[in-house]
C-alpha cells in the first residue's frame, strides 16, 4: 500500500507537501456549493439554442415570426442580428456564432431564443421554421483533403512533418501496425451553463463555468463589438472540465440575448445538448513502422497520423503538434520521419481533452513496443528501459531535455510493484459484473505495462503567463487570480503556497474575474500548479520582501535578520518580534506576472525547442477477459509517475485515480458513436462511463520526486499523465490475455468475439 492511501487527516493550516483540505470540498459534498447551473437572479429570463439536426446543409430560409409572437418570448436572434465579429475560435476564428447560410455539423447553433420560462423557450424553439437543403456530409477524415472544401478556410487545419536524424536504414527487426482511436467525450458532470447580466454602462457581466476567463472575454467582446473592459467574466462554479470548457459554448449567445432584452438571462444545456455543444477528443488513425537492432535498440520510427478535427478548428493545430512531437513515445530514437495531419469534416468538432494528442499516439507507440518485444523475443519492460529517454537526450524535435526525465524509474518501479489481486472470488467481480454472464472457467487473465509522456504548459512560442496579486492586511492574506478552479484543486494549493511563504493561517481567495486581475491562462496542459502557482508564489515573495523591509525600516533592524516564524516576524540578531497581525495593520500588497521560459515554433522539419518541460508516467494493468462474450474487467491498475515534488498528496492521489478512470473508459467503453456525421449516443444511457464495478483501485507504485529545475517548488503538473498511459496499458493487457491483435480503442465486444471481421466498421 502506498503512503498516499493512508494520508493523515488534513488540517486547516496545511502547507506545501501536506494534504490540505479543499476549501470547496465540504460545501460540494454537502450540496451547498453553487455550481453555474445553480445561478439565480430575481429578474432572470431563460435562453435556449436551436441547433441543426443535419451534419451538412444549406439554410434556405429561417422564419422566426411565429416564435416571436408567442407568449413569454422576448427575443429570437439569428446570424442576421449579429453586429460584431460573426466568428469565434480559440486559436483561429472560423466558427460562426450563429450559422450563416450553412451548417457544418449536427448540433450547430442556428438561432437563439429568450423567454420567461424554460417551457416557453422550448416551444419557441420548436416554432422557428428553418428550411434546409441537405448536402452529403463529409464524414470520412481520409477523404477530407481531396474533398471539395466545406469551409472557406479549406479542409486542412494543419500538417506537420517531423524529420529527425538522416538515416533511411532498415532495421534488423521491423514491426508495422495501423491503429485507431475512437471519439471520447470529456463528460464533465456539470453541463454548460451560465448567466449574463446587462450593466448600466452598456457592458455586460457574464458568470460562466469555463477553463480560461480571459480568452473567453476577448472572444465574447469581439463578437459583441464591445471593448474588452466592458465585458466582465466571473467564474461560476465549475462541474468538471477536462478540456470541454476551453472553447466558447453558450457565452456569446447569453450575452447577445441579455444585450437585446436588457434582462439577466440564464442558459443551461441538457445532457444531450452538451454532447453536441462542446468539442471532443480527436479520433485518430495511425500507421507506424519501428526499426530496431537485434539487441532491441531503436534506430528509426516512421509514422503517419490522421486526426479528425470535425467541423471547426478549435485547438486542432496544437493537438496535432502534440500528437506528432510525442509520437515516438519517451524513447531515444535517432531517426524519425513522421507526417501528421488534422482535417476538417462534418463530424462533431474536436479540441482539447486531458492528454491533448498524446493519448492517441501513446496507444499506438506502446502497441508497437509490445510488437517489437515479441519480434525480438525480449521482455517488454527491458525493451522500454533500454530505450528510455534520459536527461540530456534529445526528443524527436531535436530539443534536449534539460529538466528531469525519470523514464526508466517510472517503468521499473511500476513493473516491480507486486500485484495484490488474486482470482475473482465473486460473480460481481468477473467480466460482465452484475449481468452474471461469466463463470471463472471462462476467464483469461492478461497483464501489461505502458509508458507515456507529454509536455507541460503551452508550447511553440505561445506567450504563456499567469497573473496573481496578494494583499496582506491584519494577518489575513487575500489572493486574487483568474485561475479557473475546475476541480483540480488550485484553490487548495494557492492557500498552501501562501501559508508556506507568509506564515499566515487565514487565506482568502477572491472571486476569479476578468474585472479584478489579469489573465491566469488556461486551466489545461497540466499548467496551473506551475503557472498560477508560480504567480501566487511570486506575489507572496514580493509581499514578504515588502513587509520585512518595512518592518526593518520602522524598527531600525537589518532586513536580512528578519524571518517569518510562528505567525509572527522575528529577528535572528535581536529580541525583536511582532505578530503578523500587528505587522500588517497597514496593507502590504503586490501583483506579479509569472512566465515560463520562452519556447519556439517548430521549423519545416518539425524541429525546435517548442516545449517547456516533460512529464512521464507508467501504468500496469491486469485484466480479466471473457473471450467468448468479449467482455472485459480491469482488475488492477498500478502506476508510477514523475511528479517533481508532491505538493498535496491527497489531491495528487485524486488526479492519479480520476485520470486512470478516464483512460480506462477510453480503453474499454467510452466512445461517441458517429455515423454519417450524426451522434448515435448523446446521453449517459449509451455513452458509457466506468462505474465503481468497472474501475479497480489504483495502486501507486511510486511517485518519482526529482525536483524540476525552474518549476515553482520543483513540482510538475500531474493532471494529464494518468489519462495517457492507462489506456495503452489496459489495451495491451487485453491483447496479452486474448492473444488478439487489437488495434483499436475502445475495444468493443465484437473486436474480441469476431477478430477476423470488422463487424462494427
Amino acid at each position: 500500500m502506498s503512503r498516499l492511501q493512508t494520508v493523515d487527516t488534513a488540517t486547516k493550516g496545511s502547507r506545501i507537501g501536506e494534504s490540505a483540505i479543499r476549501p470547496d470540498g465540504v460545501p460540494k459534498v454537502k450540496g451547498e456549493f453553487v455550481f453555474s447551473n445553480d445561478l439565480r437572479h430575481p429578474d432572470m429570463i431563460w435562453g435556449g439554442t436551436l441547433r441543426s439536426p443535419h451534419p451538412s446543409a444549406r439554410i434556405v430560409s429561417i422564419n422566426t415570426t411565429p416564435a416571436l409572437k408567442m407568449t413569454g418570448v422576448y427575443a429570437v436572434l439569428t446570424s442576421e442580428d449579429l453586429d460584431g465579429m460573426p466568428l469565434y475560435g480559440l486559436e483561429h476564428p472560423d466558427q460562426p456564432v450563429l450559422a450563416d447560410g450553412v451548417v457544418r455539423f449536427q448540433g450547430e447553433p442556428v438561432a437563439i431564443v429568450a423567454a420567461d420560462h424554460p417551457d416557453n423557450v422550448r416551444l419557441a424553439l420548436e416554432a422557428i421554421d428553418v428550411e434546409y437543403e441537405l448536402i452529403e456530409p463529409l464524414s470520412d477524415s481520409k477523404l477530407a483533403q481531396e474533398n471539395e472544401a466545406i469551409h472557406p478556410d479549406g479542409n486542412l487545419f494543419r500538417e506537420i512533418n517531423i524529420n529527425y536524424g538522416n538515416s533511411q536504414e532498415e532495421g534488423e527487426i521491423t514491426v508495422e501496425g495501423t491503429y485507431e482511436v475512437g471519439m471520447q467525450d470529456q463528460a464533465p458532470l456539470g453541463t454548460e451553463s451560465g448567466m449574463a447580466v446587462p450593466s448600466e454602462d452598456g457592458g455586460i457581466d457574464l458568470f460562466v463555468s469555463t477553463q480560461w476567463l480571459h480568452a473567453d472575454r476577448d472572444q465574447v467582446a469581439a463578437c459583441l463589438n464591445l471593448p474588452p473592459e466592458k465585458v466582465r467574466l466571473t467564474l461560476a462554479g465549475v462541474g468538471g472540465a477536462f478540456g470541454a470548457r476551453e472553447d466558447i459554448s453558450l457565452h456569446i449567445h447569453l450575452c447577445l440575448l441579455a444585450m437585446r432584452t436588457g434582462k439577466p438571462i440564464k442558459m443551461s444545456y441538457s445532457r444531450t445538448e452538451s454532447f453536441h455543444g462542446h468539442v471532443h477528443r480527436h479520433p485518430a488513425q495511425m500507421w507506424y513502422r519501428h526499426h530496431a537492432k537485434s539487441d532491441g535498440t531503436l534506430i528509426r520510427i516512421e509514422a503517419r497520423l490522421l486526426l479528425d478535427g470535425g467541423a471547426y478548428a478549435s485547438t486542432s493545430s496544437a493537438v496535432l503538434a502534440n500528437a506528432t512531437c510525442f509520437a515516438a513515445g519517451p524513447y531515444r530514437v535517432p531517426n524519425v520521419e513522421i507526417y501528421g495531419a488534422v482535417v476538417r469534416t462534418n463530424n462533431p468538432p474536436c479540441g482539447a481533452m486531458r492528454g491533448f494528442g498524446c493519448v492517441q499516439v501513446c496507444f499506438a507507440h506502446e502497441a508497437q513496443m509490445d510488437k517489437l518485444a515479441v519480434e525480438l523475443g525480449m521482455d517488454p519492460v527491458e525493451l522500454r528501459v533500454k530505450n528510455a529517454l534520459e536527461p540530456g537526450d534529445q526528443i524527436i524535435t531535436g530539443q534536449t531535455i534539460t529538466g528531469t526525465a525519470p523514464v526508466a524509474e517510472v517503468i521499473e518501479t511500476c513493473a516491480q510493484h507486486s500485484s495484490s489481486v488474486g482470482p475473482a472470488s465473486q460473480q460481481m467481480e468477473l467480466p460482465g459484473g452484475a449481468g452474471r454472464t461469466a463463470d471463472p472457467k471462462h476467464i483469461v487473465r492478461g497483464e501489461a505495462i505502458a509508458v507515456g509522456f507529454k509536455n507541460l504548459m503551452f508550447s511553440e512560442g505561445f506567450d504563456d503567463f499567469s497573473t496573481a496579486s496578494c494583499q496582506l492586511l491584519d494577518g489575513v492574506a487575500t489572493i486574487t487570480s483568474a485561475c479557473a478552479e475546475v476541480g483540480q484543486g488550485f484553490v487548495t494549493l494557492a492557500q498552501q503556497i501562501v501559508r508556506e511563504i507568509l506564515g499566515v493561517e487565514e487565506v482568502i481567495l477572491a472571486p476569479a474575474s476578468t474585472a479584478s486581475v489579469g489573465s491566469a491562462g488556461s486551466t489545461s496542459a497540466s499548467r496551473q500548479t506551475w503557472m498560477s502557482g508560480g504567480a501566487v508564489k511570486s506575489a507572496c515573495d514580493a509581499v514578504r520582501i515588502k513587509l520585512l523591509s518595512r518592518i526593518a525600516e520602522s524598527h531600525d533592524l537589518d532586513v536580512e535578520s528578519l524571518v517569518i516564524v510562528d505567525g509572527g516576524i522575528a529577528s535572528l540578531s535581536s529580541e525583536f518580534s511582532i505578530s503578523l497581525k500587528e505587522a500588517t495593520s497597514d496593507l502590504v500588497e503586490a501583483e506579479e506576472v509569472y512566465r515560463h521560459v520562452p519556447t519556439f515554433p517548430l521549423d519545416e522539419n518539425g524541429q525546435g525547442n517548442a516545449h517547456v518541460s516533460f512529464v512521464f508516467s507508467a501504468h500496469r494493468a491486469v485484466v480479466d477477459v471473457d473471450q467468448e462474450l468479449g467482455l472485459v474487467k480491469v482488475v488492477e491498475l498500478i502506476t508510477s509517475q514523475d511528479v517533481g515534488r508532491v505538493l498535496n498528496p491527497l489531491q495528487l492521489q485524486g488526479q492519479l485515480e480520476g485520470g486512470a478512470a478516464q483512460g480506462l473508459g477510453l480503453a474499454v467503453m467510452e466512445e461517441i458513436n458517429v455515423v454519417d456525421g450524426r451522434i448515435l449516443n448523446p446521453s449517459f444511457t449509451d455513452y458509457l462511463l466506468p462505474t465503481a464495478l468497472d474501475m479497480p483501485p489504483v495502486e501507486i507504485a511510486a511517485l518519482i520526486e526529482q525536483p524540476e529545475p525552474n518549476a515553482p517548488f520543483g513540482a510538475k503538473g500531474v493532471g494529464e499523465p494518468p489519462a495517457i498511459s492507462s489506456t495503452a496499458a489496459i489495451a495491451s493487457a487485453v491483447r496479452n490475455a486474448t492473444g488478439l491483435d487489437l488495434h483499436r480503442v475502445p475495444i468493443r465486444p465484437t473486436d474480441i468475439v469476431f477478430p477476423e471481421r470488422n463487424d462494427n466498421d
Partner: protein, 284 residues
C-alpha cells in the same frame, strides 16, 4: 400541469376515468428520461407511488401476487428472491441503487421495452397480470400484455394492479450482457427456469426481438433430453444443439448497442452457460 396523488387503486382508477389522457407516474425512471428528452410533455400526472396496496405481495395457491408498485430493490429482498431467484437476479442488473429503489415492476412492464430486464424472466414463468379500470378488472398473460416495441395492451383508464408469478421448483438463472459491468441497458438477456414438477425447462430471451419471448423449440428439445433424476450428464452435443435452437429463434437487429451478429452469438453463449449452471446445481 397538475399532479394528482392517488392513495388507493380505486381512487387512481376513478381519476383515470375522468382524465384518460393523464400520464401515469410510478417510479419515473423511464418517464422522466422521456420528459427530459422532450419526447413526452406532461399535462396531468397521476402519481401511483403512494398507494400502499401496490407495494404489497401475497401468496395464493402456488403463486405469488406482486403489487405493481414493488421496486426492483424489493424484488432482491431474500424473502421474495427465494421464490424466483431469476427475477431477483434480473432486478439486480437494473441501473444503480437509486434507480432500483425508485423503479417498479409494473413500470418495467408498462414501458414494454424489448430490453426490459424483468420481462424475459416473467415470460419464461408464464406470469400474468391483473389490469384494473373504474369499470373492469381483467387478467392477461404477459405475452398478451406486451404487444410490440414499447407497446402494451392497457386500455384508456386502465392501470396494472398486480403481477401473478407461479412458483417453480428447481434452479433458475438470469444472465445479461452489457458493455459495462453495471448500470447498463441489456444487449442480450436470457432467463432459464427449471420446473421439476412438470419436468420442463423454460427459457425467456430479451433484446433479440421486438418483444421478449419464450424459445419454445429449444425448451421442448432440452426438456426431453434433460436428466430429471440426476440433473446432470448433459452431453456437449445436446448443450450445443440447445443453444443453437435458442439462437435460431431470435431475430436481433443492429443498433448502437450491439450488432445482430453479436447478439445472436451472445444469446447462444448465454443459453449454454445458463444450462450448464442449472445442470450443475443440486435439485432443490
Amino acid at each position: 400541469m397538475g399532479v394528482i396523488i392517488a392513495k388507493s387503486v380505486n381512487e387512481a382508477c376513478a381519476v383515470l376515468a375522468e382524465n384518460p389522457a393523464a400520464t401515469v407516474l410510478a417510479g419515473g425512471t423511464d418517464l422522466m428520461v422521456q420528459v427530459n428528452r422532450g419526447t413526452h410533455s406532461l399535462e396531468t400526472v397521476l402519481d401511483l407511488s403512494r398507494i400502499p396496496e401496490l407495494k404489497k405481495w401475497t401468496m395464493e395457491d402456488n403463486q405469488i401476487i406482486l403489487g405493481a408498485g414493488i421496486s426492483y430493490t424489493d424484488l432482491t429482498h431474500p424473502q421474495l428472491s427465494a421464490f424466483f431467484p431469476a427475477l431477483a437476479q434480473a432486478a439486480r442488473t437494473v441501473g444503480s441503487p437509486q434507480i432500483r429503489n425508485a423503479g417498479t415492476l409494473g413500470g418495467n412492464l408498462a414501458t414494454a421495452s424489448p430490453a426490459g430486464d424483468t420481462i424475459p424472466v416473467l415470460v419464461a414463468m408464464d406470469a400474468s397480470m391483473q389490469l384494473k379500470s373504474s369499470t373492469e378488472t381483467r387478467e392477461v398473460s404477459i405475452t398478451e400484455f406486451i404487444t410490440g416495441v414499447k407497446a402494451n395492451a392497457l386500455k384508456p383508464g386502465e392501470i396494472i394492479e398486480s403481477i401473478k408469478v407461479p412458483i417453480f421448483k428447481g434452479p433458475q438463472e438470469f444472465l445479461k450482457v452489457g458493455t459495462r459491468n453495471a448500470m447498463v441497458i441489456s444487449v442480450v438477456s436470457l432467463a432459464l427456469v427449471t420446473d421439476y414438477l412438470e419436468r420442463k425447462l423454460r427459457i425467456g430471451v430479451g433484446s433479440v426481438s421486438p418483444v421478449p419471448f419464450r424459445a419454445t423449440e429449444a425448451e421442448e428439445f432440452i426438456s426431453d433430453k434433460f436428466d430429471w433424476e440426476t440433473n446432470r450428464n448433459l452431453s456437449e452435443k445436446v448443450i450445443n444443439k440447445f443453444s443453437e435452437l435458442v439462437a435460431n429463434s431470435t431475430e436481433p437487429i443492429d443498433d448502437h448497442r450491439g450488432t445482430a451478429n453479436y447478439r445472436k452469438h451472445a444469446v447462444k453463449v448465454l443459453a449454454k452457460r445458463a444450462l450448464e449452471r442449472v445442470s450443475a446445481g443440486d435439485i432443490k
